[in-house]
Symmetry: C2
Subunit: 539 residues, 2 copies
């Protein structure tokens, strides 16, 4: 038997002290989770372009939480009370921590089917917009994120020194990797990108953060990213917003469920410029204003005066302006009238009208986003019920490539869309898909001598494009094989038995036919040589 091993702090319970687990801990956890003893999992502003913290502490969120775990990654199949194992503390010996590392997730097959379904929707939408997929290592240079603008994302890096002393980190977000890759395509002499512009690229990276202050917070999530490189005009924003809307539509979410708040840092920039804020303090100012929801108006005004050096009057005016309900009101309050920046944002709303998704958009002067690199339009999608955190977010970042060494400005715009809040939302709205396990055939051998023959039947069926599971032992007890076929979601069962085999036949039973099906279509002896057209025997 195994030695007791200790794998550091038991993280997914959110505790910091060392805990030992035994086999069955996943089952044990389920009981605690269903009883609500776990602190809310929150993605917070994990990836910067996405704030995807599910549980904002509201009662509604607490209610959600129960369901989240009931139907969530632990899977309903294992949630029956009878599955619950004895508490770890009561069991001696052979203990081993079975949880994944703190704040991370295992994906059991039923979880994985959900994830694949979601990622397939992301990929389909990206493809329908002509975007190409790319990827970069989950491990990145720490320096890539050190933009030093007080961003939460750079303060919570999952960084470390490798054994050669290199400062690396599990990537907190994807955009800097994209920028790094685009710059690899740039000719040093001219600053021209040696590729057809615009680049329209997408990815679904796993992003990480490390923070120790709160318990039970998730440390990784996946994030669908779509970016357009090389388009200065507002059509790029219009396309990306359209893609976000297309995704929502593809999964059954409507503009009654979700809205997209739009603002422009250019407009804010015009305001700050009028107020005498120097351009180099712009990013920092935005990061401060972004904290409005978190720390309140008074604290933001204090930081604007103390850190950026604005007068109390100007700071107050800026904060007040973010409360404007329309673009016109904001422009008036902020004194930027009919500036080019306001006109451009207005054009975006017009394009959305032409495009047919204007009902999803609303101007919101308080949306600034927490990343320092945004320079123009910023946006975030939110659930209109007000229960969940932001579903996705993005914006224009025309100066990021210069920060990394580009000789000239390269216009870029993109968004990040996490894999957590959307799943909550689908559950909330009752449109989460049912994705049962299925397989076309289970093939079973009547006895051990027929096992090889059963496998050759499986091979023929697979060559005909069928998915086939071979029952791994002799199936003299037919009931057991049928039970297995049912559990794995088989549509048909093939029995390979000596009598039929001698006559070149395989007995195949349709497990999903309606009761009124004639007997000779329920079970058919199919000639071996005709297994490639097996379906025709059941039509």
């Amino acid at each position: 038997m195994a030695a007791a091993l200790h794998l550091g702090s038991s993280s997914s319970l959110g505790t910091r002290q060392a805990v030992f687990f035994v086999p069955g801990s996943r089952l044990k956890h389920r009981r605690e989770l269903l009883a609500g003893s776990r602190t809310g999992v929150s993605e917070g502003s994990l990836a910067g372009t996405v704030t995807c913290s599910v549980f904002a502490g509201s009662i509604a969120a607490a209610a959600l939480r129960g369901r989240r775990f009931a139907a969530g990654s632990s899977g309903t199949r294992r949630s029956a009370a009878s599955d619950v194992a004895a508490p770890a503390a009561e069991v001696k010996g052979s203990a081993f921590t079975l949880d994944p590392p703190s704040g991370t997730r295992d994906f059991f097959p039923e979880d994985m089917r959900q994830q694949r379904w979601l990622f397939d929707r992301f990929r389909e939408v990206a493809a329908s917009y002509g975007f190409q997929e790319y990827d970069a290592p989950v491990l990145e240079h720490e320096e890539l994120y050190k933009r030093k603008a007080g961003e939460e994302i750079t303060e919570q890096m999952y960084n470390f020194r490798d054994k050669e002393g290199a400062a690396v980190t599990l990537r907190p977000e994807m955009t800097p990797s994209l920028a790094r890759m685009v710059l690899q395509l740039m000719r040093a002499e001219t600053g021209e990108i040696a590729a057809q512009l615009p680049l329209k690229w997408f990815a679904i990276p796993q992003c990480w953060r490390f923070e120790t202050t709160q318990r039970g917070r998730r440390r990784e999530h996946y994030q669908w990213n779509m970016d357009i490189v090389g388009v200065a005009g507002i059509t790029a924003e219009a396309e990306l917003l359209s893609a976000v809307v297309s995704f929502f539509e593809s999964v059954g979410i409507t503009s009654k469920d979700v809205g997209i708040k739009i603002n422009s840092r250019k407009v804010l920039g015009a305001v700050l410029n009028n107020a005498g804020v120097p351009a180099e303090r712009f990013a920092e100012t935005c990061v401060i204003i972004d904290k409005l929801d978190k720390i309140g108006a008074a604290a933001v005004q204090k930081e604007l005066t103390e850190k950026v050096g604005l007068s109390a009057d100007v700071a107050q005016k800026i904060v007040a302006a973010t409360g404007a309900k329309t673009l016109d009101e904001f422009a008036e309050l902020a004194g930027v009238g009919e500036s080019d920046e306001v006109k451009e944002l207005r054009k975006l709303f017009e394009l959305a009208e032409d495009y047919g998704y204007a009902d999803w958009l609303q101007f919101d002067a308080s949306v600034v986003r927490g990343l320092a690199y945004y320079t123009g339009v910023v946006f975030e999608a939110f659930d209109k019920a007000g229960v969940l955190r932001a579903i996705c977010g993005g914006g224009r970042y025309d100066k990021l490539l210069e920060l990394y060494g580009s000789k000239k400005e390269v216009p870029c715009v993109g968004f990040g869309f996490g894999d957590c809040v959307i799943v909550e939302l689908l559950r909330e709205r009752g449109v989460q898909p049912q994705l049962p396990v299925t397989v076309d055939f289970v093939v079973a051998a009547y006895n051990n001598d027929m096992l090889g023959k059963a496998m050759s039947v499986a091979r023929r069926l697979r060559k005909a494009g069928k998915s086939v599971d071979v029952y791994p032992e002799a199936a003299k007890k037919v009931k057991k094989a049928f039970k297995y076929a049912d559990k794995v979601g088989a549509r048909k069962m093939a029995f390979v038995a000596p009598d039929e085999w001698e006559n070149g036949l395989v007995s195949i039973k349709d497990l999903r036919c309606p009761p009124e099906t004639p007997a000779d279509k329920k079970q058919v002896n199919v000639p071996l040589a005709e297994l490639d057209k097996v379906d025709s025997f059941f039509e």
Copy 2:
């Protein structure tokens, strides 16, 4: 402009000293790579279940290397001499390391298409065998791999302490995570797994290693894993080997190109048992014998006598037996005759015969595999030309779950199949697929006023299931738009211009029709309302 930033040692050149790069470094690298200045990238025994080191130092491998990089992840599009930028050292200012961290890869879209194609084949084969996909975090508990059996894989972990002091590592292989997950399903009281057995699970994890001794070695790869949990009989091995063969067949590789070497540690175990080796030294003995290729017979015999305590005579006999050409010869040489272990291995070859893939298999007594946890059949696929390292490898590991705390033995068998050597092999054999970028439509607006209209056309086409790229600016210069459409692989071009628009029409041109196509099928004015059946206008 940006400040010069330094991102640690420049790794992908394999040097240890700090190097600064400028935009264009990817282009610059290409020249060096094509000139062969880079040491061979090798995956070595990165993931244990797979030894996938591409370049074994042979002349053939060196020849391969050039082609690898010529057609490899840097992409042919960027390999033209005209793309090569000035060397970094000659350029002052705004420098920034653009390479991914040492030993890791970026996936540009053309690389990603190859990777997606490969992964899709993995997934298709797995599905056709009734396997379900799962996943686990890339970051794992270090303790999970500390099986302390001298495995290379545990000596080269990409491990570190997180900020809370937990000992974690980027996973070197997937099997321990699988074991951990299976144990989560186990009831502590009974040791029964609360799920329908067997589990047939697959995954395509990224696996990592860290080693500093050689330059330019890759530190990550992806590895297709398929595992069956809960089947003690040899049918499980037969199914997995069949899946490996199905994969090869699906990508155009034949049994002329690739063979699969088969051995059984059970047979070896019988030999060792006869020689008086205690059972608890078995794993260690296997790990030593696995080094035969690397350190030679004399050194292995020395380790067997000094570390395991065998007599020189017995050690010599064991090493000699691994040179046997057939199972019968081995059984005789090793004095295990007609033992159950030999009979079981013989049964596997019989099943393969029934199944129809026996021509791929060959007995090889020298195949032991380097992981300590294997207990039964072990196998590895190799290219018959003898140029590449093992393509995939796997085996039975019935005792691993006990090591992690299971109360009873849980029979398991699985394999790992890396993403590197197979790509080399496809290239070698000339069956690597061409995967050009394509999109159904490029939609272009005649002027800025038509941009919103063009987007609404794109929306209609996308709703009809088409992939559509919107040309981002007014296309008064039609030539430029056509050039763009060509570059992105568009099949058709839709022009949205005022005259047609007033009549409710969109002008669509077929860019891929044969020259003899009649003019009225080359370019058609399609009514807006009928864009959902646009194809019918070109039939």
